[in-house]
């Protein structure tokens, strides 16, 4: 049987001329879908335009030094976002340092070592962590995680590492540490899910070749499978970073909300998202509100850049497949 030279239908002619032969129903259908699809670009344009317009007074008044000024004085009308930018980066990076080994461990276990019957249920349970609302994480963090940190973790950390500047000062509960730990738990499901898909996309021949040369199962994973998916795993981590940067409620409830830059994880800090959540409704002056919009704009730009980077890395490993584009 010979295959007929039929053009695949999905490869629809992108040119509008192709519509000339189409019937009225088809034209209408295409026009309707196109109109709906145009909503998203219009939304993004409106979002950016609105953020820039609202942030404009603050941008003109404070200029680029807004990024490294650490004064935040609503009464005097002087604003600088340095503490929040620092807090956002610090909490997200600490969270990433905690979450990546955990998530990578989960992904490796589920793709390489776990018994077949265990894989689906465990993967599902870990993904369920992503279904827990942020505000519930916040509640749990305040009443369970912080007492646990105070009772067990902080004394141990202090005993071992108290001489470093990172564990200095009194632990009141709401702190960079508490915010980072809750963020870590929240981003584990995202990193684990994408890492797992990346590892599944590694060809079996990689494993077989390593084992064939006498490697143990762990050596095969660590020397043949993981390096093969390196770019994708990096992408998974950066995707987690993107999530952590923009996370609002749980962090607002746990990080202490203080405009300070300090090295100690035990001290309160602030993030950009938390500042907007806390202060937006009490911003009484126009310049205060505008400064908060500028914080929002910075946050938006940073997350867009981070997410774009993650997608590029993931696409490099799994070109053409939908790895990582699935919303959890």
């Amino acid at each position: 049987m010979t295959t007929l030279p039929i053009e695949p239908v999905a490869a629809a002619e992108p040119r509008w001329q192709a519509l000339r032969g189409a019937n009225a129903g088809d034209r209408l259908y295409r026009a309707a879908l196109t109109a709906l699809a145009l909503t998203l670009p219009l939304l993004l344009f409106a979002l950016l335009a609105e953020l820039v317009a609202s942030a404009w007074p603050a941008m003109r008044r404070f200029g680029v030094p807004f990024l490294w000024t650490s004064v935040w004085d609503p009464v005097a009308g002087v604003f600088g976002a340095a503490p929040m930018i620092f807090g956002t980066l610090a909490s997200s990076l600490v969270a990433l340092a905690l979450a990546v080994p955990l998530a990578l461990g989960v992904a490796i276990y589920l793709t390489e070592f776990a018994p077949k019957w265990l894989r689906q249920p465990v993967a599902f349970l870990v993904e369920l962590l992503a279904a827990i609302p942020s505000v519930v994480y916040g509640l749990w963090g305040i009443y369970v995680l912080i007492p646990f940190l105070r009772g067990h973790v902080v004394p141990a950390l202090r005993a071992a590492l108290g001489w470093t500047p990172f564990f200095d000062g009194v632990f009141y509960g709401n702190s960079l540490l508490a915010g980072s730990v809750i963020l870590a738990i929240m981003i584990v499901p995202y990193i684990a899910a994408v890492s797992r898909e990346v590892l599944l996309a590694v060809p079996a021949s990689q494993r077989e070749a390593a084992v064939g040369m006498g490697a143990t199962r762990w050596e095969a994973v660590w020397t043949a499978v993981v390096p093969y998916g390196r770019a994708g795993l990096l992408g998974a981590g950066i995707l987690g970073l993107g999530r952590a940067l923009g996370e609002t409620m749980a962090v607002t409830m746990l990080i202490g909300n203080r405009h300070d830059i300090g090295l100690s994880l035990l001290q309160p800090a602030y993030t950009m998202a938390a500042a907007i959540a806390n202060e937006f409704s009490e911003a009484t002056t126009d310049i205060y509100l505008s400064a908060l919009f500028e914080v929002g704009l910075i946050l938006f730009v940073v997350t867009v850049v981070v997410n774009a980077l993650a997608r590029l890395l993931i696409w490099r490993v799994a070109r053409g497949t939908a790895v990582g584009s699935r919303a959890l």
Partner: protein, 283 residues
Amino acid sequence: MSARRWRRRLTSGAMTGLVGALSFLAVLALVLILGDLIAKGASSLDWSFFTHNPVPAGETGGGVANAIVGTAIVVGLAAVIGLPVGIGTGLYLAEYGSGRLGWVVRFVADVLNGTPSIVIGIFAWTWLVKPMGHFSGFAGSLALAVLMIPMIARTTEEMVRLVPHSLREAALALGYPRWRTSLRVVARTALAGIVTGCLVGVARIAGETAPLLFTALGNLNFSTHVLEPMQTLSLQVFVYATGPFDEWHRLAWAAALVLMGLVLLLSLAARWAVRQRSHGSAR
């Protein structure tokens, strides 16, 4: 030689144990959070919790009837706005998305998918709350719809793309116009997958708080008027959890348990829909 081999085997075994332990730890976190929710919240769940509105601060008792109804209205309205646009965009991407506009829409969807929800919240504030002069449940719904559309669009596209070409070609060969083929044959076949995507999307926005802070705002009274401030479970949990009263903390756990139950129900329904699909397409 044999000592070295032994050591390598030991390392392999130890690392296997380690990654297993890490997986256990991740599952343990879930179990602990759900366990605490039930342990601290379940005892407060009684009939009056579901049927009463909040009482003034300092008094005991009161419930979340207004928040439950508010969540249903705000999330329901968001779904009514967001689902058609999201599904339509997904169909566009799958059917006509090979051109430049398709590339742009796909890219924009991914960008918006990663946008922090608080940013969407202040955007909705400038577009709806500021011009209207007051907070409203409707503004909250729109913010949630914006969060939802890119997610629904991408899952719908993915699901529609899974439909085999032969099906589409068969319908076209029988003289079906393209629009009917797309709706009656292709979308129909991908329906279970699309429904799953929608349920996951609704589950995710049902727990959102940040976009509602400056839009729906919250309301201590019972309200079904979408142009006025409206309470949701997520906002109620936030206010109660960060408030100063023990009574509020008790209610926060109970409200969080109800919210978690709602989200879990939607997630499990989505999973069930997937299962239906895989049974249906088993060859």
